[in-house]
Amino acid sequence: MSIAAKEAGARQESDVVLRYLRPHVKFPNMWCPGCGNGVVATSLIRAIDKLGLDRDNVVLVSGIGCSSRMPVYLDFQALHTTHGRALAFATGVKFSRPDLKVIVITGDGDSLSIGGNHLIHACRRNIDITTILINNYIYGMTGGQISPTTPPGAHATTTPYGSAEKPFEACDLAKGAGATFIARTTVYHTTQMDRLMMEAIQHKGFSLVEVISNCHTYYGRLNRLGQATALLRMFQEKASVQDKGTNMVDDRTKDMIPTGIIHRDSEKTELCDEYQKLIDSLAKGKPA
Amino acid sequence: MSRVSLLEVKIPEDRYEIRLSGSGGQGLVLAAMLLAEAIGADASKSVIQTKSYGPEARGGASKSDVVVSTGEIYYPKALHLDLLLAMTQESLNKYYPDLKAGGTLVIDDTLVSKLPTQDYYGLSFTRIAKEQLKNVMVANVISLGAIAAITNVVGLDALLTAVLARAPRGTEEVNRIAVETGYQEGLALKLKKNPPTN
């Protein structure tokens, strides 16, 4: 690619984000200065734009939490639902209208705590929904309580002496439950994030992209980790980017954040496809 | 207001209340559905079927009620039975008190031995099913055939149509024989109990 073409492409990418913001919404956005949610939002826009999806057919479904406010700003079809239930609503949207591209924006508390049941069942069904799980290790909107991903010993307003609990690994959970595309990235790794989101959206089946993000306002402050930039540097240091497009080796034993495609299964059948086969066979007069 | 006491009011007699009872698994809810469909095929009759539902359906005394009327049926359940079929001792003990004076009692004498009255029709539905038809599952259908013969609540043809409409493929013949066997046995028993008086 020539330098000129590369530059033209780059300019388009930074401009493109503005074209996908809602005209009726007030900016600046409601997130804290430096919050990773905005980084994820821009990455998602670039991925959708690069894939050339018709924005009228893209449905963003979210639950409750800081990350779940994202569909307010992004000009697609949007369903900002109840706490933890985004995947249930998304299942209704996708199953009734398989022609739509359904993307769920959720947080660690929303999808792994109150919504844990819906997450594992959406994985199990392998319904063609892309879930962007923004994991910042804490409840931000309610003011810094522990979440199911808070590391042991970490401080939160409900664990003032350090957490005695063990956390969930969202990607392992999704893999065990049957999701067929699972990837992890961080808000520092924006180029990788763009690519993983594109792959996840293109994947036929249930896809999960866990984005490790920063809540410096609560998680950073209560655990003395510094401001947004410090957390981003931490992600840079700890991430082991080993994605070569294959299922990767887990090296969390070294206190690292493995990033890249963690699991991919293109063999498993997708729910809406299977049900359509049933509809077709019944229409021909013979049950499957 | 007039001083007629409503407590003296007679519930109209154009209701015929049937209860099929036994233990869970004897197919009595299905039998009641077949009976209701057979009776309801006559457009001049209203019919409602209700069932006891829940743990009883999986063992213990089970029942299903059919209420028949030439007019509209309001209260949907059976209160004063005109006909009680008891396929087990337990169900007889439990539901006999609901049979009204002069009501018809039909029992399976394979499984019922202690009777509170001498006025009953006893046939060995389960034994006939097992020994003659080699299929214990059709005891309920045999009992329907007998009910058609003993009472006038349903005709043999309507019953056959209803049973065969719901019979799983391959079981039409055994079900047809079951209805007819029950009908013949019922007819014979009725003649024995009420010999022609001319």
Binding site: A10, S14, L18, F27, P28, T191 | -
Partner: protein, 86 residues
């Protein structure tokens, strides 16, 4: 998670940009109305192109250093940086 190291001072060799910005707009424009002065762009820029103004919001200080890596605008959480690559 352990404590992170302090933000490191960048030690990369500053490469001169091949592009001449003297005729047109600066390499990036900043929408100060949407910016919340989080400092990410200034901190992540490997070339020290951006500097903080009195409010802590970025201004283009050394435009000739920009190598168009995109670190500033891909990491801006507030949709506030636009690249002006030509």
């Amino acid at each position: 998670m352990n404590k992170p190291s302090a933000v490191e001072t960048k030690t990369r060799v500053i490469k001169k940009s091949k592009i001449d910005y003297s005729q047109g707009p600066p390499p990036v424009s900043i929408n100060a109305a949407w910016c919340k002065a989080c400092n990410i762009c200034i901190s992540l820029c490997p070339q020290n192109v951006l500097a903080a103004d009195i409010e802590g919001k970025p201004v283009v200080a050394q435009e000739e250093n920009c190598i168009q890596c995109g670190a500033c605008w891909t990491h801006c959480p507030d949709f506030a940086i636009k690249s002006n690559y030509k």
